[in-house]
Symmetry: C2
Subunit: 310 residues, 2 copies
Amino acid sequence: MELLFLGTGSGVPAKYRNVSSIALKLLDERNSVWLFDCGEATQHQILKTTIKPRKIDKIFITHLHGDHIFGLPGLLSSRAFQGGDTPVTIYGPKGIKQYVTMSLKLSQSHFKYAIRFEEFSNDTTLLEDDQFIVTTKKLKHGIPSFGFRIQEKDREGELNAEKLRELGVPFGPLFGQLKKGETVTLDNGLELNGKDFIGPKQKGRIITILGDTVKHPNSVELAQDADVLVHESTFSGEEQELAKNYNHSTNIDAAQTAKEANVSQLLLTHISARYLFAESKEIERKAQQVFQNTQLMHDFSVVDVPLKKD
Amino acid sequence: MELLFLGTGSGVPAKYRNVSSIALKLLDERNSVWLFDCGEATQHQILKTTIKPRKIDKIFITHLHGDHIFGLPGLLSSRAFQGGDTPVTIYGPKGIKQYVTMSLKLSQSHFKYAIRFEEFSNDTTLLEDDQFIVTTKKLKHGIPSFGFRIQEKDREGELNAEKLRELGVPFGPLFGQLKKGETVTLDNGLELNGKDFIGPKQKGRIITILGDTVKHPNSVELAQDADVLVHESTFSGEEQELAKNYNHSTNIDAAQTAKEANVSQLLLTHISARYLFAESKEIERKAQQVFQNTQLMHDFSVVDVPLKKD
Ligand SMILES: [Zn+2]
Ligand SMILES: [Zn+2]
């Protein structure tokens, strides 16, 4: 599980920061990539990575501002051109379906794969399967803007098959009983308790990715105990007034939310082009004074999210 | 007058060729820039040039395929963000207005400047003013696709003011009479014929920029005696069948059109990413065998179109 930041700028593309997009690489977990927002030229950024567009099977859109969606029709087209033939689901606020379908219809784009839309206007659960549950809550940004909590389900501990084979347990139904934690007796009279051979439960990871917003209680709820919180930081703490007027957050807002939500790690993105490199280091440093484990992201920053020891 | 190629690829962005866009820089002529097509990330390409988005006041769209229009909403947004406050006119096939207005409406983009649309479905004159006349004709590409002929008007020769002042002609109404080619008599009895002081007429330049198309008689009409013909060359001459099936041209189609139309110079663009650098040189060379003054364009190629001596 790895986060790859494809665009970390705000509003308009700049020389060193493209507009918003983040890839959540789930290659080990499900051989797929999920995309969060898709500003213009996201597909161009992807060209500079190892991501294969056809592996992107879910796209989550936080809000409909242009710097978060204008790359969507092009990415979907290139995905088709490069042989993508499996469905894509797009989750986004009401309006995203009209934007995508109209763009593809007027440009007479026809794909081999299906695009499914899951539009929402309120807090809801977007998907739940064996591995993940993804929920969304509304934030505050002038237009409907949402955050996502991607919660991996806890995994049962793994049976130590090697040890069992050493003890002469034949591969078959006995393994199943042991895996359930039952006690079994081997032909040679040896009694084995399954619980002794099951590793620790694997706690699921939690990643929270928020759309543009001012500081908001729902951010804290979405980020509660998360391993990683991705938070916008359009302005520096000195521009608190400006941030509020433009419905954005400062680095300090983000750090306070991280602290209140008791997350493990805070990643700042959506950085205004007005801040040069030295200033962005200062923005990071100031946030760290409020919440220590903070990092300010750059285009192509990679953050690994390892499995936790229980 | 200068052509700056912003994107010379075909279909999808590739590492060395972005999707279609060409800037016609008219800085000396009218302090403005005209854009022809606007594929995704055209604004990103512009960031690497000296072009100021606010100087772009006319955008011509050849056809609605995504690789020619998906950069339009983003470019217009950034133009607003960067202080653009003068109107823009977008000329394009029917549908372009719906695409742009819907994209801007759903993304809740509001600009200080007006966007005017001039949609067309047939051969027509798009604009005529003191300096230019721009006409369009339909080509053949599966969907409505058009070419543009940008014809600069001939300019009257300039009065040699320096010479007249040397001869003691006082600045004022006499200059006006001489400019009209009249004969005037100075206070000192000297007789001057205006025609002797007027430079040669300045022949207007003609630039023809075609949308995607198979070889077509309208291409020849649009390009007749042009200084520069910009023609797509998606496929090489060996792929004539493929080109026809996909409604595209080869380098040979383009060169034959250039020859038939008696143009001065042929510029090839819309090059498939399948052709690497060496192959593109070969495509250029083969076209030169049919029409000698041919150049194959790359992203950021610049072609000056100087004034002609009459
Ligand atoms: Zn926003
Ligand atoms: Zn086309």
